[in-house]
């Protein structure tokens, strides 16, 4: 692999701050970014990429290539959880398999932003519509994950189930089908409410809404709005906020690493190999669509990344039988650092090799 690319990626202030955050936890420093400050940075980053993407979409307009890209995005977001589920079922019960599958079908906006900051640095162009692709890929996996649970454990979504799944975080047993699914009188009722909630959670959760809202604002306010606020959403301020957010992500990811002991080799391998496979599939699809170098990298990164905010929140409420410390830790403590450090330059190298 081109060692310049790796260096370019790592010698980026935001990525170095991710290491600094991890280091702080490893040496047991008391460095912390207290709540709700991390939320400030994540709200800001969503608004910034949304608005910037919207502005670029306003400039470029819709083209057939853009529409193909968006379709490809929805396709990948729907198909990844399906094959992930069947792979995971080999070792896990349906609940955990579905929750992890949904996690990997969805995306991580910060991984996307870090990749775009590498593209900025080495001056490879990319399109604003990739933000729309990002927004479109957040939600479908949540719905697919739930459909899978419904098909394979038909009574699972009953919100007033009387027996609690005996989750056991202390050892590594995730037996299949060990959950007792009693029928309940007002099941039908509850399932309906549950579905309404699920769809709202999937498509109207805070980050999706803010991202799409900012995108539309960027489109609607056109060149005028851009002149007013562009220095707020791009350049130095954007990189600065990304530095702080990745510092926090480093702290959070490193704290999660101890949870990995309970995860087992199967899931640790999954958390590295699945992103690689998804990225490769994404790159091939990107070649097919003819996205160009920059957009292909962003698309690969979307396919490779896993959600650690929207999906965990949705799964915790809708598949409570699954163990959150599994899917959050995998996404956050393995896949996220892997993509940030190794994945991004690797995917770009592959794109260059394949001549996408």
């Amino acid at each position: 692999m081109d060692s310049n690319l790796i260096l370019s990626n790592i010698l980026n202030p935001p990525v170095l701050f991710f290491f600094l955050g991890m280091l702080a936890v490893f040496v047991r420093s008391d460095l912390e970014i207290p709540n709700p400050l991390p939320k400030l940075f994540s709200l800001y980053l969503l608004v910034a990429i949304g608005f910037k993407g919207g502005h670029e979409l306003f400039e470029s307009g819709l083209s057939p290539m853009i529409i193909s890209t968006l379709l490809a995005a929805v396709f990948m977001a729907s198909i990844v959880p399906v094959y992930s589920f069947f792979i995971l079922r080999v070792k896990l019960d349906n609940y955990n398999a579905a929750a992890i599958a949904a996690t990997y079908g969805s995306i991580s906006a910060v991984t996307f932003i870090t990749a775009s900051s590498l593209l900025d640095k080495i001056e490879i162009p990319y399109g604003g519509h990739m933000v729309a692709a990002l927004a479109l890929m957040e939600s479908p996996a949540i719905v697919v994950g739930l459909v899978l649970v419904r098909i394979f454990t038909p009574k699972a979504l009953d919100i007033s189930v009387d027996e609690k799944h005996d989750r056991d975080d202390t050892d590594n047993k995730h037996h299949k089908d060990e959950v007792d699914n009693k029928n309940n009188k007002d099941e039908a009722d509850n399932q309906e409410t549950s579905w309404g909630e699920v769809l709202r959670e999937a498509f109207l959760n805070g980050s999706v809404l803010l991202l799409i809202g900012s995108l539309i604002t960027g489109v609607l306010t056109g060149g005028d709005g851009w002149t007013k606020v562009h220095l707020f959403v791009e350049k130095d301020l954007f990189y600065g906020a990304l530095m702080f957010f990745l510092l926090d992500m480093g702290l959070v990811a490193a704290r999660r690493i101890q949870d990995l002991q309970k995860t087992g080799m199967f899931l640790i391998s999954f958390a590295i190999l699945m992103p690689l496979a998804n990225a490769l599939l994404g790159i091939l699809l990107a070649k097919l669509v003819g996205m160009g170098e920059g957009n292909s990298l962003l698309f690969a990164v979307l396919c490779a990344s896993a959600s650690y905010i929207a999906v965990p929140a949705a799964m915790r409420m809708t598949v409570p039988e699954a163990n959150p410390s599994l899917y959050v830790s995998m996404a956050l403590a393995i896949t996220f650092p892997f993509n940030i450090i190794v994945g991004i330059p690797l995917y770009l190298q592959t794109i260059k090799l394949l001549g996408v």
């Binding site: 027996e163 704290r255 929140a313 915790r316 410390s325």
Partner: protein, 95 residues
């Protein structure tokens, strides 16, 4: 002047607060207090600090039976999603 009451304390994920408030409403309970951004550890491992935090909800019940009624109404939610529900005896100033 001091009057016996039941103090109910609930700790759940912040995601479940709307569900709890709905239950309170159903039981015509209008008085409650919520502390957000609480961290903790329990059967479901560690919550807080980073992505998903807990909330602490306190309800003073002047109607002594209400506390137990509420505990019944909360059972399914707690069974399903975990959390803490405790009742303490206290006295309050009726003002």
């Amino acid at each position: 002047m001091l009057q016996p009451v039941k103090k109910v304390e609930i700790i759940v994920s912040y995601l479940e607060v709307p569900a709890v408030l709905k239950i309170l409403k159903k039981n015509s309970i209008r008085g409650y207090t919520v502390i957000n951004n609480v961290s903790g550890s329990g059967e479901h491992g560690y919550s807080g600090d980073d992505l998903i935090t807990n909330s602490y909800i306190m309800i003073i019940c002047t109607d002594l039976e209400m506390a137990e009624k509420l505990s019944n109404a909360m059972q399914p939610l707690l069974k399903k999603l975990g959390g803490i529900f405790i009742i303490t005896d206290a006295q309050w100033i009726a003002h």
